[in-house]
C-alpha cells in the first residue's frame, strides 16, 4: 500500500509562502499514492524554474534538466523504459515558451506521459518578467510599457494539435487537482494538465483573489469530454468564469511507444544487452558483399 508520506522528502522547498507550487506538490503526492504508484516506479522530469525543483522536495526519481527541454528528455526516457510512469513538471516559460515546439510534437506522437505545467503566467526565478501566458499590457522589467505579445492559449493549442487528454487544475481546489492528475496518470497517451498556479510574489493580479471567485468545475456541468468542439469553446472561456477540469479526453488512440516494433518485446532497458551472435555478424557482413 502506497501512502502520501512515502513521497515525503526532508528537503525544504525554496518557494515563497503561499506559492501555488505547494498545492501542486501535495496534489501530485496524493494522486500518485491514490494510483498505487511508489516513488521508484515514477520518473519525474522537470525543466528549469522555481517549480521545476519539485523532485528535490519529494521522494521520487527525478531528472532536473535544462530550460524548455523536459519533454524530449522524458520522451527518450519513456521510449527506453515504458514500464515506468513518466511525468513532466515544468512552468509556463519552460513548457509554453522555450518548449512549446516540443509540446506540439509530444502531442502528435501521443507519447505516454503526464505533462503538468505550473502556469503562473510570469517568470518567477528570474524575477518577474512577463511569460508566454501573461496578459497583454502586463508591466514587468522586460515590458515596462506593458506586454504587447498576446498570450499563448495552451489548451486550445493542445486540442488543435490532437492531444488525447487536456485538463486544467487549480491548487486552490486541491482534491480536484489531485483527482485530475490521477485521471491523467490513468490516461494511455499524452496528458496535459495545465495548472493555474498563483505566484504571490510576481503576479499578484493572478493569485488566489483572482481565481477563487472565477473557477468552476467543468465536470459539474453537462460538458461532454469527448466533444472536441465543446472542448475548444471551453478552452477559450476566460474572464468572469474560468473552467477547470477535463476539457477533452479520448481513449484508444495508440501511443507512440505501443507502435515501435522493438518495444513489443517489452521495455528496451529490460531487453538483453549482449554481443551480436555469430549468425547476426555473418548476416550483417554478408549484406555488404
Amino acid at each position: 500500500m502506497v501512502s502520501r508520506k512515502d513521497f515525503d522528502s526532508p528537503n525544504e522547498p525554496t518557494w515563497c509562502k503561499g506559492c501555488g507550487n505547494y498545492g501542486i506538490l501535495n496534489a501530485i503526492k496524493m494522486a500518485l499514492a491514490e494510483q498505487g504508484l511508489a516513488p521508484h516506479q515514477v520518473l519525474m522530469v522537470t525543466g528549469i524554474g522555481c517549480g521545476s525543483k519539485i523532485p528535490q522536495y519529494m521522494k521520487v526519481n527525478g531528472f532536473h534538466t535544462i530550460h524548455g527541454r523536459a519533454l524530449p528528455v522524458a520522451t527518450g526516457a519513456r521510449l527506453a523504459n515504458h514500464g515506468m510512469k513518466i511525468m513532466c513538471v515544468h512552468g509556463d516559460g519552460d513548457g509554453y515558451g522555450m518548449g512549446l515546439g516540443h509540446m506540439m510534437h509530444a502531442i502528435r506522437r501521443n507519447i505516454g506521459l503526464v505533462d503538468i505545467i505550473q502556469n503562473n503566467r510570469v517568470y518567477g526565478l528570474t524575477k518577474g518578467q512577463y511569460s508566454p501566458t501573461s496578459d497583454v499590457g502586463m508591466r514587468t522589467p522586460t515590458s515596462p510599457e506593458g506586454a504587447i505579445d498576446r498570450a499563448v492559449p495552451p489548451l486550445g493549442l493542445a486540442i488543435a494539435a490532437g492531444a488525447t487528454f487536456v485538463a486544467r487544475g487549480y491548487p486552490g481546489e486541491l482534491p480536484h487537482l489531485a483527482w485530475l492528475i490521477g485521471q491523467a496518470l490513468q490516461h494511455d497517451g499524452y496528458a496535459l494538465v495545465d495548472v493555474l498556479q498563483p505566484c504571490v510574489t510576481f503576479n499578484r493580479a493572478s493569485a488566489y483573489d483572482f481565481y477563487n471567485p472565477r473557477v468552476y468545475r467543468l465536470q459539474e456541468t453537462a460538458h461532454d469530454v469527448t466533444n472536441k468542439t465543446a472542448a475548444w469553446e471551453k478552452a477559450y472561456e476566460w474572464g468572469e468564469r474560468i473552467p477547470i477540469g477535463i476539457f477533452y479526453r479520448v481513449e484508444g488512440v495508440p501511443t507512440y511507444e505501443s507502435q515501435v516494433p522493438t518495444l513489443k518485446a517489452g521495455p528496451l532497458v529490460r531487453q538483453p544487452l549482449q554481443k551480436l551472435r555469430p549468425e547476426q555478424v555473418h548476416a550483417l557482413c554478408t549484406e555488404l558483399i
Partner: protein, 591 residues
Amino acid sequence: MTVNNMTIRIGGAAGNGVESSGAGFCQALGRAGLHVFGLPDYYSRIRGGHNFYSIRISDRPLYSHAEPVHLLLALTAETIPRHRDKVVEGGAIVYDLKQVREPPSAVPGVQFLPLPLSDMAKETAGTELARNTVVLGVAAGLTGLDLSPMESVIRQNFGRRGQKVVDGNLAAADAGYKAGQKYAGDFPFKLRRNPSAPPRMVVSGTEAFSLGALAGGCRFVSAYPMTPGSPVLHWMAAHAAQYGVVTKHTEDEIAAICMAIGAAHMGARALVPTSGGGFSLMVEALGLAAMSETPVVIYNAQRPGPSTGLATRNAQADLLFMLYASQDEFPRFLLAPGTHEQCFVAGWRAFNLAEKYQTPALVLSDHYLAVATRTLEMGAFDFDAVQIERGELLSPAELDALDEEYLRYRLTPSGVSPRALPGHPKAVYVAESNEHDPAGALDEEIENRIAMVEKRQSKLIGMVEEMSGPARYGPAEAETTFVCWGSTYGPLREAVDLLNAEQPGRANMLHFSDLWPLPLEPVTAALASARQRIAVEVNATAQLATLLRSQTGIQMDGAILKYDGRPFTPEYILARVRTDRRASKSLPLDR
C-alpha cells in the same frame, strides 16, 4: 598495358543515378575480386547540377581516392570540360551522343568515344534512365572485365522492381559491353577478374561506424536529418526491428540529444548522429549530460561551415569546437577514426568509454570518411574483440543488498560514482543539472562546489589511461614527419608511400585518432623524435597543431592546410610538398 590499376569516373546530373550506379559498380568490382575505393561527389540539390562518382581500382587494398582518371564516363556534356584535364594519356572519354551535340575539342593522347547511350538504353531497357547501366557496360567492355559480377549486382539491386526491370538492365549492360569491346584494342587500361580472391565487403565509413555501434550494444538512436550524419540514422532504422534498436527521427537536434540523454539515463546505450550545425544546437544539452553524468555518444560527420556552409562537402574544422563546446568545463572523450576499420572500433568503444566514465563520448568523422567506400576483407571488423563494458553500473542484486542510502554522485577517488538505473526502490534519486551534493540535492556551498568540480575533473585521470598516442606509419626515422588526424589518414598514407618510393626515408606520418584526453607521454615522445613536423589538416587554422602546441609546447614546423571543401588527395599533398618544401606558406603558427 596496365592491369588492375586505374580510376573510372562517371559524371552526370543529380537524378541521373550517378551515385547508385557508382556504388553498384564498386560492388561488382568487389565481387570480381578487385580492391576499390569509391567516392561520390555531389551537390546539395535533388535535380541537375553536376555529380560524379570516382572508382579507383587495384589489386592491393586502397586507402584513398586519387586524381588521375583513366576512363571518364560522361552522361552529360558538362562532365567533359569539368574532368578532361584529369584524364591521363591513353585514357578515354565515353560520352552520350544525345547529350553532347558539339564534338568536344581534342585532348592529346585521349580517345573520345561518342556512343548513342540514350538510344541504347531505350532500345534495351525501354527507358533512357538506364544510360548509367549502358555506360558501365561500356566500361566493362573497354577494360575487358568479365560482365558476370555486374550482372549479379543488377539482379540483386533491381530485383525488387521486378523481372522486367532486371532483364532490361541486363540487356542494357550487355549492349554497352559489346559496344565497349569494339574499342577495347586501343584502350590500354585493363581490369582482370581475380577468381582466387576471397569474398570482400564494400563498406562506407557510415556503415562501419554503425556496425560497430550496433555491435557495442547501441539500442537507442535519435537524430534530425543533416548531411552527412543522417545515413547513420538510416542504417540504424533499417536494422532497428531486427536487432532490437529504437530509432527516433526527432523534431530538431535539441530534441535528438535530449531524447538520447533521457534514454541513456534509463539505461539504454544511446547515440546521436549529426553534423556540425546539428551539434551546435546540442551544446547546452551536452553540458546537461556532463553535469548529470549521463553517458551519451555523439557522432559528428563534419562538413564545411560555418552555418550551412557546404552541405555535401568535406572539412575537418570542428575539432576545437567539439573539444570546448558548452559553458564551463568537464571531461569528455573525443575520438576521430581515420579508417573504416577505426570507424568500427570507435562505434563500440565510445559506448564503453561513455558508460565507464559517465560522461559524453564524441566521435568526429567527416563527409569524406562517411561516404567513401572501400573493399575490406570479411574479417576486417573484429567482432570478437568487441566488449560491452558498462563500468560501475549497479545490478538489481547489488541494489537489493544495499544497506545504506544510495548516493548517485558519491565522491570517489576515480570521480566515477556507482550508477543505479531508475526503477529500484533502494535507489530513488534525482539526476541534477544544477550543482548538487553527493545525494543529488541542490547545493551552492563553496565546499561542495569545489568537491564536485574536482570529482568530475578527476575522471580525467582514468580517462587518459584509456587513450592511445598517435599511430606512426612509415619508417621510424624520416626527413619529414606529417601529423594528421581523422580521415586524412588515407590520402596522407598514400602520399608517404609515394615519397618514400622516390627517396627512402623521405617521410613518415603520425595519425591521431584519440584526440581527447591526450595521453601526453606518448604524444610528446612521438612529436619530439620527429625531425621536421608538418601538420596536414582539412581546415584553415591547423586545429590539431594548435591543440598539440597547447598541450605539449611542441610547435609544428609547417602545415599543409586545405579548406576548399574537398578532401586531400595523395597528389595534392605531393604537389604541396614539392612546391613548398617546408610547406609553411599557409602556416599561421609560424607568424
